[in-house]
């Protein structure tokens, strides 16, 4: 049986942000989405490293989009999650869900 690909916490955040953004996912919007949802804004360097690594693992794919004047006439690099990325994310989330079962962290007195 093939071992599922392990995902780090930041990789999961990036994949979830890309899925939430859909066709609008590129460097700036991904960082803004993560900042809006978690309160922590990743640095462009950290995001670049993670996206490159995940593209090499075929979890995301990218393509060049339109250029705008605001961007100095430079094209956006759009990103989308592949089926392999979805599967890896699903596996990671399932692992979290099974570990959370019975703990009642979200709705308990300690929440």
């Amino acid at each position: 049986m093939k071992r599922p690909v392990a995902l780090g916490e930041f990789e999961q955040l990036v994949l979830l942000a890309i899925l939430r953004l859909g066709d609008e996912a590129y460097g700036v919007t991904i960082r803004e989405e993560i900042a809006a949802c978690t309160g922590r804004e990743p640095s462009p360097g950290a995001l670049y490293t993670t996206l490159t690594r995940m593209e090499e693992k075929h979890m995301v794919r990218s393509w060049l989009g339109d250029a705008t004047l605001k961007r100095g006439g430079k094209a956006k690099r759009h990103v989308a999650v592949t089926q392999a990325g979805r599967n890896a994310l699903l596996n990671a989330q399932r692992a979290y869900q099974s570990l959370l079962q019975g703990l009642d962290l979200l709705g308990g007195a300690d929440a």
Binding site: Y26, G27, V28, S43, P44, G45, A46, Y48, T49, E55, E56, H58, R61, L64, A67, T68, K70, R71, G72, K74, A75, K76, R77, T82, Q83
Partner: protein
């Protein structure tokens, strides 16, 4: 002052032109609201993230190949006139250089790292066992077996081609370094004999030899990265389907 155009050019040395333009576009898009300090701080972070592996890989490759060649030369004193041994020595030096550079830059799972690593180990073993024909034959048989396995795997087959080409560039760089250094020594000393007294009298000779050596190795690393990008990098199955 470093302008954004120069910054994009610098970043492109490590991530390619398209990626560099897209990354600089992301920074420029937010520069108006976040300011120049944020822009240059983010650019520095991006440059560091993109450049550390190639730079550390290059430095490690230079050091490891130098140490390996020095150790191997010491262990084969008196046998240097043998042409097959000299060839194996160059193969070992080139393989160690590529194995370390590729290992740091692309990781141990990369096909080029694995092929170059196997080449480095086998050629080193061959040199160390040069005086023992039976053991040397066994290493040769293992090398043929490993080469056949690599030929059957597409990515490793391409990596073997990349390693052979890079090794030829490495050898050419080494030969050019030796020739250029010889010309410089003759220019400075008017003789071709070089000992510790001459080096003490003209320390520039050491710097010139080192500069030519680093230039040759820099070209080797550049060619290695280009060949890896063109032939060894695994294609994304999603992109193949999209075509």
């Amino acid at each position: 002052m470093l302008r954004s155009f120069n910054a994009e050019w610098l970043l492109a040395r490590f991530v390619g032109h398209q990626q560099s333009a897209a990354l600089m576009g992301d920074l420029l898009e937010q520069r108006t609201e976040r300011g120049a300090w944020w822009f240059w701080r983010s650019f520095s972070g991006l440059l560091l993230a993109a450049a550390w592996r190639p730079l550390v890989g290059f430095i490690a490759a230079v050091v490891v190949s130098a140490v390996a060649s020095s150790r191997l030369m010491t262990s084969t004193i008196g046998m240097w006139s043998t042409a097959p041994l000299q060839t194996t020595m160059f193969v070992a030096m080139a393989s160690w250089f590529v194995a370390v550079y590729s290992g740091v830059r692309y990781g141990a799972r990369d096909a080029l790292s694995q092929v170059a690593g196997a080449g480095a180990m086998l050629s080193t073993m061959g040199i160390l066992l040069w005086r023992h024909p039976a053991a040397l034959l066994s290493v040769g048989a293992v090398a043929i077996g490993v080469a056949l396995v690599f030929i059957l795997l597409r990515s490793h087959r391409m990596a073997m081609g990349a390693l052979v080409t890079t090794s030829v560039i490495f050898l050419a760089g080494y030969a050019l370094m030796a020739y250029s250094s010889d010309v410089y020594v003759h220019h400075v000393l008017r003789i071709r004999l070089l000992g510790s007294a001459e080096l003490e009298q003209h320390p520039s000779i050491q710097y010139v030899i080192l500069a030519f050596l680093l230039l040759g190795e820099g070209v080797t690393a550049f060619v290695c990265a280009k060949l890896h990008h063109k032939f060894v990098k695994r294609p994304n199955p999603d992109l193949i389907m999209a075509r």
